[in-house]
């Protein structure tokens, strides 16, 4: 039996695509003065692994997305450092920018963006 409708994850290129994207995406995020202070006290290696899990999910790949964990992980950033929509928007901008750099077709970028967007309320603890 063949699958005539490859999943979003398959269309994007699976894990290899996530690896390529994570590298570009995380460098963009850490270089952006609007948002890189949120990462000042994080272990860069552990954080890169989290970024990979996040991108895998946004790419429609295998994941165990847990809204409660996402809230907990960002709660102190919201309370102490004022994490808000503008910062979330900046990250979304880097996500689209990364995919554009990788020549991903716009209709797939839109699908990834929609999945990432669905985490906004958890990230911002609303």
């Amino acid at each position: 039996m063949t699958d005539s409708n490859p999943s979003l994850y398959e269309q994007l290129g699976g894990e290899a695509a996530v690896n390529a994207a994570v590298d570009i995406f995380y460098r963009k995020v850490l270089s952006d003065h609007r948002i890189n202070r949120f990462f000042d006290n994080t272990d860069i290696e552990k954080q890169a692994a989290k970024q990979k899990s996040f991108l895998t999910m946004a790419f429609g790949g295998p994941n165990n997305y847990n809204g409660a964990d996402m809230r907990q992980a960002h709660a102190h950033l919201v309370i102490k450092l004022g994490l808000d929509d503008s910062h979330f928007d900046a990250v979304m901008e880097h996500l689209s920018g990364t995919l554009e750099e990788l020549n991903v077709p716009q209709n797939l970028i839109d699908q990834v963006a929609a999945i990432a967007e669905s985490t906004r309320h958890d990230v911002l603890n609303r």
Binding site: V18, D23, L30, E45, A49, K52, S53, P62
Partner: protein
């Protein structure tokens, strides 16, 4: 039958056919950190105690972690019975005696120990040194692995540092001290002889780096090796002439001493070692990076190196956390 037994301390779990080690442990209510279950987050990393785990379970891990039989429980489908550990190995100690004590500078001591048993270490690893009353501190091994019984350490005297003060003042040639098994993942493996290497150390962070450089040169490492050793003032550095000589001897070894306070003498970098290094070598794509010394320097430089092109897998770091008050 494809059932394999997983032994963890005094517990045994049977891994069913097609079941990952992570799922088997969780099924038996063994609490193990985990998140993505697909090899991305690496939070379920554990270690095999009886040889190499399946290669597929080591996907994405740093070479030194693979070398020490770490693997991801979520990706591991056992091919045989396994003995695993969730925690770092317990310290085993062997006895050693002091065979030399020299001054490297006003505050740093070069201590040489001769161990009773041969120690299997890699240049750049550290051991725990334990005094008779139990007081224990971690120190990096400062030599390469050619010497199996002889270990050297750079012990910096710290304000209020009980161990370093004792080692400087009271520890004498002929005295014995306990030495743990070597530990740590900031070390050299001769698997990429062409790769360029950047090493940045502050203060006695030179110790593991000197061991790594000596090991790399001994293996005929062909890529360029750049060392930046920093301190606030020239007095805080040591082995300046030795490193300059080594640079004269090996055309691929480059050495830059750095001072962050006041004017830098000719041939010295002016500024913090990490800043001097990054401005000298702005493109680190494909490089291997070793960082040792003050935790703030190590953390900051990890990020700098990554943003200048180094892969995280190629960044090896050893942050010197100290028990006493201050450290530059």
């Amino acid at each position: 039958m494809l059932l394999h037994k997983i032994t963890l301390e005094d517990r045994q779990v049977v891994c069913q056919n097609g079941e990952s080690v992570l799922d088997a442990l969780l099924r038996e209510q063994i609490d193990i950190p985990h998140a993505c279950r697909e090899g991305a987050c690496q939070s379920c990393m554990i270690r095999s105690l009886d040889g190499s785990p399946p290669i597929a379970a080591q996907k994405g891990l740093k070479d030194v972690l693979r070398h020490q039989d770490h693997f991801l429980a979520c990706l591991c489908y056992p091919q045989q019975d396994m003995h695993i550990s969730l925690t770092p190995p317990a310290d085993f100690f062997t006895e050693a005696s002091v065979i030399a004590k020299e001054r490297l500078n006003a505050e740093t001591l070069l201590l040489t120990l001769q161990s009773k048993e041969a120690l299997d270490y890699y240049a750049g690893q550290f051991v725990n040194l334990r005094r008779a009353d139990g007081l224990t501190r971690s120190y990096s091994i400062a030599n390469n692995r050619i010497h199996t019984h002889k270990l050297t350490f750079h012990i910096r005297r710290l304000a209020g540092g009980r161990f370093s003060e004792w080692a400087h003042q009271e520890l004498n040639i002929g005295d014995t001290i306990s030495v743990s098994d070597p530990q740590g993942l900031c070390y050299y493996l001769p698997n990429q002889p062409e790769q360029s290497m950047l090493l940045i150390g502050t203060g006695s962070g030179l110790a593991p780096l000197a061991g790594i450089i000596s090991e790399a040169l001994h293996h005929g490492h062909a890529g360029d090796i750049h060392l930046f050793h920093g301190s606030r003032e020239v007095d805080g550095l040591y082995w300046i002439e030795e490193m300059q000589q080594l640079a004269g001897q090996y055309p691929n070894f480059h050495y830059t001493p750095c001072v962050s306070k006041g004017d830098a003498p000719a041939g010295f970098g002016a500024g913090r070692a990490n800043d001097v290094a990054i401005s000298t070598l702005p493109s680190l794509k494909g490089w291997r990076v070793y960082l040792c010394g003050h935790p703030d320097m190590v953390n900051q430089t990890k990020r700098q190196a990554y943003l200048h092109g180094a892969q995280l897998q190629d960044i090896y770091a050893d942050a010197f956390h100290v028990a006493s008050s201050t450290l530059d």
